[in-house]
Structure formats: C-alpha cells, structure tokens
Symmetry: D2
Subunit: 268 residues, 4 copies
Amino acid sequence: MADHEWVGRGYDTALGASDPTTITLLGANLAEDVMGEVGFGELAFWLATQRRPSKGETRVFEAVLAALADHGFTPTAIVTRLTYLSAPDSVQGALAAGLLGGGSRFLGVTEDTGRFLHDQLPDEPPSDEAGWDALALEVVAAQRAAGRFVPGLGHHVHKGGDPRTPRLMAIAREEGVFGPHLALFSAIGRVHPQVLGKTLPLNGAGVCGAALADLGLPLPLLRGFALLARTAGLIGQLAEELRSPVGNEIFLSVDRNARPVPPQPWAG
Amino acid sequence: MADHEWVGRGYDTALGASDPTTITLLGANLAEDVMGEVGFGELAFWLATQRRPSKGETRVFEAVLAALADHGFTPTAIVTRLTYLSAPDSVQGALAAGLLGGGSRFLGVTEDTGRFLHDQLPDEPPSDEAGWDALALEVVAAQRAAGRFVPGLGHHVHKGGDPRTPRLMAIAREEGVFGPHLALFSAIGRVHPQVLGKTLPLNGAGVCGAALADLGLPLPLLRGFALLARTAGLIGQLAEELRSPVGNEIFLSVDRNARPVPPQPWAG
Amino acid sequence: MADHEWVGRGYDTALGASDPTTITLLGANLAEDVMGEVGFGELAFWLATQRRPSKGETRVFEAVLAALADHGFTPTAIVTRLTYLSAPDSVQGALAAGLLGGGSRFLGVTEDTGRFLHDQLPDEPPSDEAGWDALALEVVAAQRAAGRFVPGLGHHVHKGGDPRTPRLMAIAREEGVFGPHLALFSAIGRVHPQVLGKTLPLNGAGVCGAALADLGLPLPLLRGFALLARTAGLIGQLAEELRSPVGNEIFLSVDRNARPVPPQPWAG
Amino acid sequence: MADHEWVGRGYDTALGASDPTTITLLGANLAEDVMGEVGFGELAFWLATQRRPSKGETRVFEAVLAALADHGFTPTAIVTRLTYLSAPDSVQGALAAGLLGGGSRFLGVTEDTGRFLHDQLPDEPPSDEAGWDALALEVVAAQRAAGRFVPGLGHHVHKGGDPRTPRLMAIAREEGVFGPHLALFSAIGRVHPQVLGKTLPLNGAGVCGAALADLGLPLPLLRGFALLARTAGLIGQLAEELRSPVGNEIFLSVDRNARPVPPQPWAG
C-alpha cells in the first residue's frame, strides 16, 4: 500500500448492490420485490428519482415515453439503420449512434420546454386560469421582446394542433398530476396569439417536457427520458431493418447522387 | 430531375407516421390508443415484434428488464459517470458511451444464452422433464467435448444460486410462457453437474436470454433489450451522480496512482 | 418513379469520389498524388479546409495535435479502457466512447479559447505589442467585470507555466504563422496580472486553440482537431491496455469500494 | 482508510505524464522533443507501438491513412452529417456516431486481411516468388474448399484493379518495408485465378491491412488505424456540411418517401 495514494472514501450508491445470496436495487430486494412487481416505466422513474411513483404518475410518465418513442424516419432512425448496415456486429454501436442525434435540435425540445417553464414559475404560482393567463402573457411578451422563441410552441406538420398535447393534458388531469408546468404551458397556448398575432400549436415534445417537470423528474436529465423512449423506438427500427431493410437503399440514394465539385477553401 | 439517379422505390415502415391531424404508430392511433393505454415495457415489446404482447408476456418481459437494469458500479456505469464529468453538456453522449460497453463480455451473456439455447432445440422438443434432461445432457457434454463453456452457467458472486433465476422461471410459469428455451436452460441447471463434476448456478443474464427467446423476441436483437434496460439504469446513475458525484474521485483515484514506466515496444 | 417524391438535386462534395479506374480526393488523384506524398497531419488540414497547407502551417498544426494527443489517465482514456474491457469485440465502440468525453470540460478549452479570441479581434488589429497589450487589458477587464473566466488562462498542475505554450508560440513564429489570435493570447498572458491581481499560466489547450484559429481552421470545428489528436492517443491507450491491462483493476477499485446508502429522493 | 478496500497496486503507463514543469509522452519531453519535431502520423505510430518509426515506416503508414481517410458518401459519412444535423451542439457526438459504423462490413476489411495473412504465414516464410505463389495457392484453395472468401480480394467498383494497391506496394518497396504480409497478399493476387476461375482485384482496404501488419502494428487494433484515418475524413465531412449542407436534404429524401405498411409480426 505504500506505493500509491488513495484519494477516495468509498463511493456511495443507492442503486444496484449484491452479495452472494441477494441483489438489491434502490434498497428493495430485486428478485422478490421488483421483478414481476414493477413495470419498466415505473422502474425507470424510480431509478431516476429514487422514489417509487404512484400509479397515476407512472401512467403519465409512460404516456410521455409513448409520445416520444418513435417518429418514423427521423435522422436518428436513419443513423441507426445505416450504422447497423455498416457494422452489423455491434447492436450497441447502432443504438448508441442513433442516440447521439438526441441533441439540441431533434430531441431537445422536451428538455428545453421543461426547463424554460420551470424558470418562469414564480414562488407563488397563480391560483386560477386568469392568473395563469396573465403570467403566460408576460412570459410570451418577454420572449418576443428578446427576439427568442417560446420552446414547445409550433410544429412543422401539426399546424392546427398536435394530437398528443390535449391527450397528455387530459391524462395528467385524470391522474391528478396536472401541475404548474402544464398549467403555464396550457396558458401559453391560450394567450400567445394576442402577442404573436398568429396561432401556433403547443407541440408534443413540449407538452412532454412540461409533464415530466410536473412529475418532479430531474430537470437536467429531461433529455434522458426522451432518449430512453427513443431507445425502444430504435430497437423497433432495427427489428424492422432486419426484416425489411432500407439502409442500403438509403446509402445508395445518396452515393449515386453525389455530385463532385471542386474544392472550396474555407474562408472563415 | 435529369441530373440524378433515383435508386429507391420508397421506404416501407410500419412504425411512426404522421399527417397534419393524426400520428400513428404500428398502425394504431398514438394519441388515442397508445398514450395512456400502453405501458412502456409493453410498447417496447410491440415495437420490436410488431405484435402487441399479452399481459403475461409483458409481465415477464418487464421482469427481464428489471433484472438487467442496473448492477451498481459496472464498467458501463463508471463510463457514463466519467463521460458526464468530462462533457456535462451532452447527456446523450454520456448515455451512448455507457451503452457502448454493452458488448460481448458484460451484457452479451443474455444474447449468447438465448441464441445458444435456440440453436440446440430440436424440431420436435421433448415432452417431459426426462426428455429435457436427456437433451441437456447431450448439449452440455458436447460443449465440454468442444472445450466451450455453456452460456448462462456460472456466476462470480452468486456461486450458490442467482436469485433472479428461480424468480424469473416462476413468473414465466405463472404467466404460461415458460417455453422450450427456459425448459432446456432449466434442465441444464439440473444435469450439468453429472458432466462437469461441479455445480454451477444458472445466472440471471442467462435466464433472461432464455425468457426473451421464449417470448419470441428477435434473437439477433436480444442484446438490444439488455441495452434498453441498461438505458434506464444509466439514467439512474446520472441522476445519482448529479446529487452525489463520484466521477471526479474515480478519475483522481486512477490519475494519482499512475505509475510511469518506460515504453515497451509492441512485439506482436 | 410515380410512387415517390424526390426532394434532392444531387449532393455536392469535393471529398472522395471514384470511378472504376481512379479515386480522387479533394480533386487530387489519391493513389498518385496523395498516397506517399502527403503526410497525415497535412491531409487532415487539407480535408478540413479544402486547401493544402504549407509546410510551416503543417508543422504548427502537427505540433498542436502532438500537444493534445494524450494526457495519461484522463477520463476519456479510462472510459476507452473500461469500454474495451466490457466489449472487446468492438474497437470502434471503445474509441467512440472515449471521444464522447471530448466535451465542454476536458477537451473544450481549445475550441473555447479559439472562438473567444476570434470574437475579441477588432476589424483592424493592433500593429505593435503595446497595441495588443491595450486590447488584452480591455478584454480581461471586460471578462472580469462580467464575472467570467478568460478561456485558456490557468492550469491546475502547471501553475508556474505550461511548457507547451512558449514552445508552440516559438514554432508558430519560426514558421511565420504567428497571427492575431496568438498575439492577443500572448498579450493576455502579459497583462492579466494587472487586472486579476495574480499571475496565471496560459495553458496548452488554450494556446492550441489560438494557433488553430491563426491557421484559419474552421472555428466551429476546433474541438474536432482535439478529438482527432485524441483518437491517436486513445489507440495508444488501447494498445497499452492489451499488453499491460489496468481496466479490470480500475473497475474493481470502484466496485469493491461501493458503499450502499439508502435511496435519497430527488428534491428538484 | 479503514472503510474501504484498495485492490490496486498502481496503474502502469508509458503514455502521457506531467509534473508542474514538464510533460512527458512515451518517455520523451513533449514540448521540447515531440512538438514541432514529430509528425502526426509518426506520433500515432509511436503511440500505438511505443517505438518511434523510421522515416520509411512513417511514409508507408501515412500512405495507408491517406488511402482510408475518406471515400465520399459512405454510411459513416452520412451518419456523421445526420447526427450533426440533429445535434449540432455536439461535434464529438457526430464524430463518434460516424466511427461506430467502422465495423465488420465497411471498415473491417483492413483488419480482417491483416489478421488473415498473419495467420497463414509459416514460421519460415518463402524466400522467393515461386515459394510465395505456392503458399498463396494453398491458402486460396483452402479458403475455397471451406466456402470462405479471401479477405481483401474483390471490389464492387474497381473491378479491373484498385489503384491504391500497386501504389502502396510500390511505396513499401521504395521504403524497404515490403514484408511477408504484402508478399503473400501480392502472391494471392497472382495465383487466385487458377483456383477461382476468375480474376479479382486486390482491394485497397486489404493492401492497407497487409502493409499495417508488415509495419508491426498491433493486429488486434488494425481497425483502429482505419478509424483514425476516418476521423480526419469525418472532420472533412463536417467542415463541408457547414458550408454546403446536404444532411437535411438526405433526411427529407427518406422521410418523404416513407411508405406506411401494416405491422408484420416477427416470426423468428
């Protein structure tokens, strides 16, 4: 022991642990009390927050995951299929590559909306719809004055309304977990035309962020839940690619339409 | 259109699709019939197989996911924490890095076992325990003769028995989905001491592979389900790292104990 | 062609192209004029800027890559070794995992410094050292007033001076490519004690960013060059791990020092 | 120290190390003896083998890297561009995603060929061309008898000959590092028509693997050098995408040509 320096004092964790006869997870007996007793959405929530969600919270959380799991041939789906085409020996590589597209543009709205709404909430939230509308009006006007978009507002396809939005709000109400983030998001939906002069839909990614925030999930990891949902979607993409492959055709559609041009030196 | 060549004929998919008013997933209306109605484990199964599982199948599947979600400070967990330490701006990178450890050694047993059992099943499976035992005896003897291990047999900690194994078998029986893969795996557990001269546990990763195979999930993607489970676990690791960080201490415990040695040329 | 919609008009590229007898890269004949004629650093520069660098530019660029290639047991090095331990079947996964740590904290200084310096440069740069010092004084004072750090200033080990910094500046001078970014960075080194009241070193990652910016490399991709350098370093880490493995010991040093604690619910 | 268990005895490394005044790499003084003195290809070789290559070895190595750096719109290039489209905040994610395609199919030939040739070499290699031809004949015949391809033989575009192959062989001869792997590969090129009844080209990826093996680079990491080369190529792809973006158009060309089909349950 003389030739090294120990800097640690042990690594605390409440997650998985095991001894020869027992495995525990979050303080529970994995085999007896988790396996067969806890659904996967419920478990993911529990892992992230270290508290077991109620049935209603779980239902809302799983509705969010369903809303975000797969949107067809997104860049992330294409990436996973092309990576599998190139390296079929590594399923983990194909999934990881797809998740790496889960950044600011395509999957980031969920997190951006949740964080944005959270930052706007006053210490004492409004107690009625009029109060929420007044707050929302301030919020939208301030964004507009600053030349910034309101996260979660607008959709390039569902211009008249994203069907996920009212549905998720309804589920949250049914389960009694419609909280301040959804309340403010909803109010933004009502009042923004007064400020912006046009009506935009509250999009599905945004309402998911609001709902996740109301569930008390960690704001710095909201993107992580979109990625969890997407992992299930990308497995679906791979399973479909196995039976009905399109990766090679996508590759060829690009490669065969390449058009050589002269180098164009970077000008800064 | 004259200056390019189109090689495709359209890209078939049964996964996500949308038009201005409706979003469909697997042919179902996402907002009406999936959100709030379908649990996340159920949805992941559905996405992977394009058939909706029964309640019993879902329970077994979710028990498998629970069994594989987190095992404490595995290399993948450490990798996710260290990557987040290094690049806190990219949650997707931290999760992807962790999943990349889901290869042959640490997460591969699930897939190896499922595939191995599948390859051993005769066209006409045995009809009673004695039949399964006879088959298992052949299988284990053949592996031994070839100098190969039996996937799913043995565990470095749970030497006297992995608690997940009997539990998952019991759940599968309760739900009526104890099929030939689990039957053969179970028989291997009974007969291998006759061949190997010692008693090894049927490990949890292996029984999960057997159960996933019995559920009819795609064999080439069994590793993918371990990765899905692990994604939830890694989010848990990140959430814990946010509150109770150990990444920097792990890094320092390595860095400060580095011992410079002279270069040692590669000798082939 | 009737059943699909083509949206593209061909994909322009000046990079690799081939026909049955010839391969071109950046408009040059790959086999005849690139292979055996162009060094790897030179080629990387050429690929990034689409202009072939001079010998002097190449020397400075390669000095930067050498400065950033490997820093021992960094988080990225540990991540690559642990991922290889877990998934030895996938060298690409081990390298990719390591690169994913190349984010804001550990590899980001290079890009941050290059961009920061660039943003501070006036249309008409100073013509003598006194002019640069005056500009640097403004820049440091403004950062201080805003409560922000000056990127590239300070180092936790090389408190008295990072040996890479004067060396890279000397090489850049020798090669006649000591430009405005290095001039400003150098001036910051001279004047910051007047503002901050203490003397900090100009660190190696920062001077590399300044040099890359002076070379006219794409600012949005400066981090990419740190990653290129690091790829070579990570291959070195893997090659050493093959002969003198430490990954498993690192894993065990964490796993065996895990200390189970009760779950601590996320409080927001 | 009483509450934990230390399992290590220090982590040996000959790679990067530093103290307050000096940084060493591979036992050399980084600032004085590496920066400005060692090219990037040379350094990558040195890092991988822990021995400094000769000028001739470096030239062959860099010719290999040039041969493998970029092949236009490969799946890996498309993946990097799409990932950047989706997550422009993370250059490291875009590069890592591209590298994850560096698996068995598209980048694996280099490693496969190097390893394959190595496995065929007898303890006492032939001393003349006739001897190599006889060995090659055996090797090709054995592969054929086993129903296996000869790695490195054949190319879907360069059917009449890959221009990189004779060029790399010529460079290796010029530099005096044309060793047994290239000798056997070359002989396979001469004799295979006698066995296969048709003439196939020795491809560029294959000759690169042979050359890397002759240089004494680590066989288990040959794929790593293809990935290093490709990292430079992918930075080129990103730099071009910044100026002349095609990612969104590729995405749309897939998305708009999606053709919804009914779910097709997995049949095993």
